[in-house]
């Protein structure tokens, strides 16, 4: 990978009332890398995404994106800088047809700027992007309302909405969850192609096998803390990680 640090998280902490959701999380991300974030339920993975993408303001700590501090910026400003995210619970615009869903990111200042202020035919651009993520162009799928699409398409739509922004970093919050094995296997090439296009990714995932095929580096979270970091398969050998996932061995006498 090119070796330029694109995203750095320094000592991030966030408490919701008495619950310490994130405690002193620290990591950095190189350009073009895919970082996997794993951990048991409730370990603070999604909160981490919310903190980085600006939806939740951290108590302490800083986030740097391309060397600039973005801590506390509103989400839309962060998205316009080139850091965007998908949602774990998909949030399509139900009443709009699938391709109209992409009109929203296509109207963002970031895309406007990259097109020199002129948008042109946004509908055509939207259908091109949907084609890219696997919506068949000839079929009527892109024209159906998002509310009527099956789960697999909705996940792709979430990704398409990110891609439309032409981002540099995408944070994928469980893109594989709820998909069948065949849907997952068709999704992996899409993510690989995004990496080839030079997009850096953070993937929150429970599907370890698929994640390990993609990720360059993995961090493991437990109770809001980063307990391990490293190459995918090595990380799983870590004692702390085993304990988090399998629990401590009960002594039987």
């Amino acid at each position: 990978m090119s070796g330029e640090c694109i995203l750095e998280v320094r000592k991030l902490s966030k408490a919701f009332g008495g619950v310490q959701a994130i405690r002193n999380v620290h990591f950095s991300l190189m350009e073009g890398e895919i970082l996997g974030v794993i951990g048991p339920n409730g370990s603070g993975k999604t909160t981490l995404v919310n903190l980085i993408s600006g939806f939740v303001r951290p108590d302490t700590g800083q986030v740097f994106f391309k060397g600039k501090e973005i801590t506390g910026l509103p989400p839309h400003k962060i998205a316009n800088l080139g850091l965007t995210r998908t949602f774990q619970v998909m949030r399509p615009y139900h009443t709009l047809s699938a391709f109209k869903n992409l009109i929203v990111p296509l109207n963002s200042p970031r895309v406007r700027q990259s097109r020199g202020g002129k948008l042109g035919d946004t509908d055509a651009v939207a259908i091109d992007i949907l084609d890219e993520v696997g919506f068949e162009r000839d079929a009527r799928v892109p024209f159906k309302t998002a509310g009527s699409l099956p789960l697999g398409y909705l996940k792709r739509l979430e990704l398409a909405r990110c891609i439309a922004l032409k981002p540099e970093v995408i944070i994928c919050d469980e893109v594989f969850s709820g998909l069948s094995m065949s849907e997952i296997t068709s999704m992996i090439p899409l993510l690989e192609r995004l990496r080839m296009d030079g997009i850096t990714m953070i993937m929150i995932e429970h599907r370890l096998r698929e994640l390990f095929r993609l990720a360059d580096k993995v961090i493991v979270m437990n109770f809001g803390e980063k307990i391990a970091e490293g190459i995918p398969h090595e990380v799983m050998e870590n004692e702390m990680v085993k304990k988090a996932y399998w629990g401590t061995e009960k002594k039987t006498s």
Partner: protein, 336 residues
Amino acid sequence: MALKDRRKKRLDRSIKVRTGGLYALSSWSEMGYLIAPRLGLILILAALPLVLDMYWQRVLCSAGIFALLALGFDFLAEYAGLVCLGGALFIGVGGYISGLLNSTFGWPALVTIPLATFFGAAVCTVILLPCLRLRGIYFAIVSFMFPLFAVFIIIALGVFGSTEGITGLDSFPNIWVEVYLIIGVVVVALFAMRRLVSEDIGVILRGIKDNDQAVRASGINVTAYKTRAVFIAALIGCFGGAYLSHLYGWLGLSLFAMDFSILPIAATVMGGMGSLVGPVLGAFILTPMSEALRGFGQLRVVLYCLILIGFMLYKPEGLMNYLQRKYEQYEHWEEV
């Protein structure tokens, strides 16, 4: 016992399918199918004043004002997700600005109405700006409060003619100008609004209604777009107010009357939420109806409510959505 289950089957008329895209231009019957309802509406509205007497022409004028408010309400509620009960605020602010400009500087209505429309909308937007973060019923309550607020401020400070209002404003040269001005504006506002909601800004606003978090993640400033939506709705509302103050040559506290907030909702429910045309039709039906029922005295309100309840129970989709369905689809019962 065999249960007789049946359901309604609906099929798009072939002509509706054919007129979906560029093919609408293929023949006169296709074009006629598309143009007829639109032209029909315009012609009926244009012809109405010709067959009515002076009294009913005046009623038509106030129906037009309610139509504008209903249009704004429907736009904000269905396309931007803001249930705004601030109709009285728009009317009051628009009416007071144009009335005051007219009475203090003596400017003619031709100048004060555009000024009041624009600056009134700006003022209303600024007033509502802090509440844009609120959603649903909370925004409704707060926006409902502002007109009451304005009334008490005017009484307490004794400004702008206080409780008595200001009389003797310029009125329009004759009844024809009055009636055709408002009808023209209603028609233009209606078609402009229909165009607007299918443009990108309309799509983004619907996105915000469906899910504002996702819109934020897409790099769009949600508050900026909501502000624009409120400004647009306030624009047509304030025109209504400015027009009203010149129509009666008078401004007073009743410009902030609750009717202006409530009746547009009734018109929208009756006409069909989200259809934009529906609320306009609803206003043109309900306002004359409440005039016609005047003979019943206080019972008028009861009858009025019965009609509304009837609509909510038996035709919740509203008049316009019903008519549109009949126009576009075949329906028949099918045994299951």
